[in-house]
């Protein structure tokens, strides 16, 4: 019987539209967007500037321009949602029970929401005097 790779491909192309199919696309499109976003951030902060030159004043100076706040906000939104959904997919590879999967998904959703809100609050609120 036809067990070549093209056959497998055809079967997969028939995947129904739904949450998992949407998540699958999300991982790919957000990933492509993260190449400029995450790489740009790491290049500037970690490679060119370096942790020894980073302090409160440095962050205050950067966040003085709206452009970098928007950049950081997009990075926060895309990188963390991509990463947490990735973790969900990894865990789904190992969890066999449907109930556990549902619980883990809720747990991850809450984790994502809380950390995203904390990070967004910092970007909106900005640097405060110590």
């Amino acid at each position: 019987m036809a067990t070549n790779t093209n056959q497998v491909q055809l079967n997969q192309a028939a995947a129904p539209e739904g949450f998992e199919s949407w998540a699958w696309k999300w991982m790919r499109y957000s990933g492509l967007l993260l190449i400029p976003l995450a790489w740009g951030h790491v290049l500037i902060q970690d490679i060119l500037v370096g942790v020894h030159a980073i302090d409160l004043d440095y962050v205050a100076l950067r966040w003085a321009s709206l452009g970098w706040r928007v950049y950081d906000f997009l990075l926060l939104a895309f990188a963390f949602a991509h990463g947490v959904n990735g973790l969900r997919q990894v865990l789904n590879d190992y969890i066999r029970s449907d109930t556990t999967r549902k619980r883990v998904t809720w747990l991850l959703f809450i984790l994502w929401l809380v950390l995203s809100l904390i990070g967004a609050a910092a970007i909106v609120g900005g640097v405060r005097a110590p």
Partner: protein, 136 residues
């Protein structure tokens, strides 16, 4: 449930020889970056919530073990990105080109490109570590 199964079967197709290696590297790099990012969101948000703590957090990142960790983190972000782009481009635009031969070749290309991009970054970060932490 059916779509979940399909998804898992789909991921399973990244396994086997070179594919297996890149599957594991991609997974570990993604999870490692996520772990860093979760901590990083919290330490960055101290600039608003507890500004006096921020410099303490950055002090930790300046220590030698953490700087070595950052060099590894940069490799993870680069490799996961290159390999993720490979997966995304094949899946979205040329799915009919997924076969054992193209996968094997492109897996090696991802690793090669990632190492070439990482070496200059590792050099700069390594030099910065020697200058600041060892007075070179």
């Amino acid at each position: 449930m059916e779509s979940l199964k399909l998804n898992i079967l789909g991921m399973a197709r990244y396994r086997g020889r070179e594919g297996q290696l890149s599957f594991i590297l991609h997974r570990l790099a993604g999870l490692g970056t996520l772990l860093f990012l979760a901590v990083h969101i919290l330490d960055t948000s101290t600039v608003y919530f507890f500004p006096s703590l921020y410099e303490h957090a950055i002090d930790i990142y300046r220590s030698t073990p953490f700087m070595l960790g950052e060099i590894a983190l940069v490799f993870a972000v680069i490799y996961h990105g290159v390999n993720g782009a490979r997966i995304a481009l094949f899946d979205l635009f040329i799915p009919d080109r997924w076969n054992v031969e193209t996968q094997r070749k492109s897996a090696y290309w991802s690793l090669g490109i990632a190492i070439v991009l990482w070496l200059p970054a590792a050099y700069m970060m390594g030099r910065s570590m020697l200058v600041h932490n060892f007075g070179l």
